[in-house]
């Protein structure tokens, strides 16, 4: 598939002697918002780490923008926000962004742009240590947006946000996708699944569904994605017992 930004084939990852990703094969199409959903501990973060190229993998391949994940040439084409906000607590929001912008060689105006995009305009000169949990998350997300990366890998970016802010961020994700950015966004909240163009449902280190939300509802005959997820698990277990 030439139009995939991420392509994984038989990706296997083991941590501490335990296999946490079981030979995953999936693709993330260009310019789409792909949701990575599943309960906590199912391997979402490990999968994302493999995509950005910081995870040691046992076997299989991950190709990102036509190159092996973690390739030097990809380092300013991917934006990554970890679940735990990775920013300097003893710097202000603006100082943090200025530093990461200079590491990325991003344009001068980029700092103000990303601050506005995540809605942190009022807190830009505040020390990160004094931000609320939701603001802290958005500060970390803002770093990922610097330099207009082609692929955004966001690990639970909306945790701890009120519904209004959550809605605004999802609007931002769709705007970015409309401009051609590809997004891989993890969540464990099912109501966010409906906002994605494609879904990867994960459980115990396996991808149990890879489709559009509409197709998943149709296949399982339910209007609700949470129910659809449960149905898929039931069916798999029924197959497993037979």
């Amino acid at each position: 598939m030439m139009n995939s930004v991420v392509e994984a084939r038989d990706l296997r990852v083991a941590r501490g002697g335990r296999t946490v990703l079981h030979d995953l094969t999936f693709a993330v199409p260009r310019g789409s918002v792909v949701g990575l959903l599943g309960p906590s501990g199912c391997g979402k973060t490990t999968l994302m780490r493999a995509v950005v190229g910081v995870q040691i993998v046992q076997s299989g391949t991950v190709t990102v923008l036509g190159r092996p994940a973690g390739h030097r040439a990809l380092r300013h084409r991917i934006g990554y926000a970890t679940q735990k906000p990775a920013v300097y607590a003893d710097l202000t929001v603006r100082e943090n962004l200025r530093y990461f912008a200079s590491v990325l060689g991003a344009a001068k105006g980029d700092v103000d742009r990303v601050v506005d995009e995540v809605g942190l305009g009022g807190a830009r000169d505040q020390l990160v240590a004094s931000l609320s949990g939701g603001q802290l998350n958005r500060a970390s997300l803002a770093v990922a947006l610097l330099g207009r990366p082609e692929l955004l890998v966001l690990d639970e970016p909306t945790v701890g946000l009120d519904p209004v802010l959550r809605g605004e961020l999802w609007e931002l994700f769709h705007e970015l996708a409309a401009r051609g950015t590809t997004l891989l966004v993890s969540s464990h909240v099912m109501d966010e699944a409906a906002r994605c163009e494609r879904l990867l449902l994960m459980r115990d280190g396996r991808i149990i569904a890879d489709d559009t939300p509409g197709a998943l509802r149709e296949q399982t005959g339910t209007g609700d994605l949470e129910q659809a997820f449960l149905k898929i698990i039931e069916r798999r277990e029924a197959v497993g017992r037979r």
Binding site: G53, Q55, G70, R75, H76, Y80, T82, L91, Y99, V103
Partner: protein, 244 residues
């Protein structure tokens, strides 16, 4: 490697320090206080002239070791290191950024402590003040490099702080500060001869006793600089782009 990224990193670390007034005050204040204490505890100018310069070299090493190992450990545990490793930042950019930022901080520290020692406390130095500045700067950089390297072996800040007594205090004991190296047993002497702090103490003693730059002093400077580069390279080897 990129000069722009190295400078940006150094500037970022200095901004972090600037926000932390208490740490800055401690970096400058504690060695000053200890020098003043030493002067009045010894109460004999000859004794102070003998030990003072050696401590002037040991302070920046110890302080920069602690500050660097905690700062880099924080960088590892907070996730900012992993984030930087996904960006176009070279490992040396980060290490040299730290060396530069804490080198500058050490210069401020040395300026204050040396001024107090040479004026108020009446420290008598045969060698030049500039050699003193160079030596203390080298000591600080050695502290930064060792701190960067050892922080890779600490999982928590508690452990990182404990590495200071573990790595530095045995060197202080063996460096000839208390007992001259040639009076130690063969085994201890052999160990002392491969530890960088021994050369720092020796260099400081040369500076106290000789007005000119001696051959021994040049050799000591070379050894300390070599150890610093080696520790920085070892530190670079502990930074991994991919982790389990």
């Amino acid at each position: 490697m990129s000069v722009a990224i190295t400078l940006a990193t150094a500037r970022r670390i200095l901004s972090q320090l600037r926000h932390d007034h208490r740490t800055l005050a401690l970096i400058v204040g504690v060695p000053s206080l200890l020098m003043i204490l030493l002067r009045y505890v010894m109460d004999r100018p000859e004794a102070f002239d003998r030990f003072g310069p050696m401590l002037l070299g040991v302070f920046p090493l110890v302080v920069m070791f602690i500050v660097t190992s905690v700062a880099t450990l924080r960088e590892r545990t907070s996730g900012t290191l992993e984030r930087l490793m996904t960006m176009p930042l070279g490992k040396l950019d980060l290490l040299l950024g730290y060396a530069l930022a804490f080198g500058v901080t050490a210069l401020v520290q040395v300026a204050v402590v040396a001024t107090i020692s040479l004026t108020w406390l009446g420290l008598d130095l045969r060698g030049s003040v500039w050699t003193l500045v160079v030596l203390t700067l080298l000591a600080a950089l050695l502290g930064v490099a060792l701190g960067l390297f050892t922080s890779a072996f600490a999982r928590t800040e508690f452990q990182a702080v404990q590495f200071m007594p573990a790595f530095v205090l045995p060197q202080v004991l063996l460096a000839g500060l208390f007992v001259p190296r040639d009076q130690m047993s063969a085994v201890l002497r052999w160990i002392a001869d491969v530890l960088p702090l021994s050369y720092l103490v020796e260099a400081m003693r040369q500076l106290t006793d000789h007005p000119a730059l001696t051959g021994t002093l040049w050799r000591d400077i070379a050894v300390i600089a070599g150890c610093t580069v080696l520790a920085l390279l070892l530190g670079a080897a502990t930074l991994r782009r991919r982790t389990p």
